[in-house]
């Protein structure tokens, strides 16, 4: 009985080991975007350890900055007061410019940009996989976060929510190999699709004739994905021309250094285009469209 079970187990394991790579490589090679509740539960079980570690390190760092570094505070205080005065003067100038801008927009008939609702979140974890990097933040489904929501920081785009647990969410970074977004070249207003690449960079494929320079800034186009138009994405650091190819490959360095991120903002306002589609087609529209296409 034991021998026959062992033979069956050997056959089963060998067969499944041979079949597994075929199943895996025939899949879309996407990460767990809408995981089963069981997978979310697995990560929820680990999350308290992350919180304890994060709070402990934050506490120690904060204590260090508060008490040990207090000697520098007086000098910094003076410096900051000077900067504050300068900034207040600049804010007054900016207020004037903003009012002028609004007036001009109105005159030109431009639609005013809708205000986006932002939700601040702390970065509580950073996945160590150099190839598939992700951030974990301290807000989850209980705070109204859903997969697909854009994540930004003060310097620009960070990525998007890839999965939301109850009290945490994972952020797929701009530099992830499976990340794509619509961007504009700020100087020439040329559009393109930016894709994540390894080593903290992104790649943009453009036609060979498109004029582009090292140092050019990329901004969000605001067309898809729920990102507001005009947010900084990155800057061009390398342009590669291939003789047999009609495209030029542009390497982009994101403005946001995700290794130093401590806080991020999640844009919780729904994507207007996506909401319109969902309203018209219902929540299962994509599946129905696919079935129709496949003739089922």
């Amino acid at each position: 009985m034991k021998d026959s079970f062992k033979r069956f187990a050997t056959f089963f394991m060998l067969a499944s080991a041979l079949v597994a790579p075929f199943i895996f490589f025939s899949s879309p090679l996407r990460s767990w975007q809408n995981p089963h509740w069981f997978f979310t539960l697995l990560q929820d079980a680990i999350h308290p350890v992350e919180r304890v570690w994060h709070n402990t390190t934050e506490g120690v760092t904060s204590w260090w900055h508060t008490y040990i570094n207090l000697t520098r505070a007086a000098g910094e205080n003076d410096e900051l007061k000077q900067k504050l005065n300068q900034l207040e003067a600049r804010i007054l100038a900016f207020d004037e410019q903003m009012l002028e801008n609004q007036r001009l927009r109105k005159l030109l008939g431009f639609s005013s940009r809708s205000e986006k609702k932002l939700l601040a979140a702390e970065v509580v974890g950073h996945n160590p996989f150099a190839t598939f990097e992700a951030l974990r933040i301290s807000r989850g489904a209980l705070d109204g976060i859903r997969a697909g929501m854009p994540v930004v920081a003060a310097d620009g785009i960070v990525g998007k929510i890839i999965r939301a647990g109850q009290t945490f969410s994972d952020v797929q970074l701009l530099v992830d190999s499976d990340f794509h977004m619509d961007v504009l070249l700020q100087r020439t207003r040329v559009r393109g699709v930016l894709s994540g690449a390894t080593k903290g960079h992104c790649i943009l494929q453009l036609h060979k004739r498109v004029e582009i320079r090292i140092g050019d800034t990329l901004i969000t186009s605001g067309i898809v994905g729920g990102y507001p138009k005009g947010l900084p994405v990155g800057r061009v650091i390398r342009i590669t021309h291939e003789t047999e190819n009609v495209a030029q490959s542009v390497t982009v360095e994101p403005w946001v250094d995700h290794r130093r991120l401590e806080e991020v903002m999640v844009i919780v306002s729904p994507d207007p285009e996506l909401e319109t589609i969902l309203e018209a087609g219902g929540p299962q529209w994509s599946q129905r469209a696919l079935n129709k296409h496949l003739g089922e």
């Binding site: 080991a17 996407r30 990460s31 990560q43 680990i46 950073h126 996945n127 890839i162 499976d178 290794r259």
Partner: protein, 188 residues
């Protein structure tokens, strides 16, 4: 002179002391799962804040390899699947990548387990090296497939070599008690 009564550690403290002896296979499924979660939390949250973004230290692979070797088949597979799922759902790695890689390792270990003497260094070193190399190469291959190109610099080589060396060293530390016969290697 009456004989001195030896100090007896109270039961809760003894239990706690026992819990601190972290090892891949304890014989209790609850403890094994608890340790796996702790190792995963250290791997995903604590280590990155210490060693930075480079994936220099891999705790999960040696842990799961030693578990596969020393635990009976059913429990070894259960813990390996759980570990692989934890790694996948905590990163943006494609769904099924670690499941596939670890399942193939599990098959190799299962087929060779009875034929090797796990009291010697050599089978452990070879198993750990092959397993760690397999995971590294599988990750690189999947990444190359997704990106449609492959770039492997000297820095990548140094990172992956460090990871390999650390994985083997950790695996040798973890397998010590099983190699020396404190705990027998589980059979089928």
């Amino acid at each position: 002179m009456p004989a001195q009564t030896p100090w007896i550690i109270p039961t809760p403290f003894a239990n706690f002391k026992e819990l601190l002896k972290v090892r891949p296979y304890t014989g209790s499924l609850r403890k094994d799962i608890f340790y796996l979660f702790i190792i995963c939390a250290i791997h995903q949250s604590i280590l990155p804040s210490i060693v930075g973004r480079y994936h220099l230290v891999d705790l999960m692979t040696p842990w799961l390899i030693v578990t596969l070797v020393v635990a009976p088949l059913g429990r070894g597979l259960l813990l390996t699947i759980l570990g692989a799922l934890l790694m996948e759902t905590g990163s943006t790695a494609p769904a099924g990548m670690y499941l596939t890689a670890f399942w193939m390792i599990a098959t190799g270990v299962f087929l060779s387990k009875a034929s090797l003497s796990w009291r010697h260094y050599f089978p452990w070193i070879v198993t750990l090296t092959i397993a760690e190399l397999w995971i590294i190469l599988f990750e690189l291959f999947v990444n190359a497939v997704i990106l449609n190109n492959f770039e492997f610099t000297l820095q990548d080589f140094a990172i992956q070599s460090t990871r390999l060396g650390f994985g083997i060293a950790l695996g040798m530390v973890l397998c010590h008690r099983f190699r020396t016969g404190d705990d027998p290697v589980g059979n089928f």
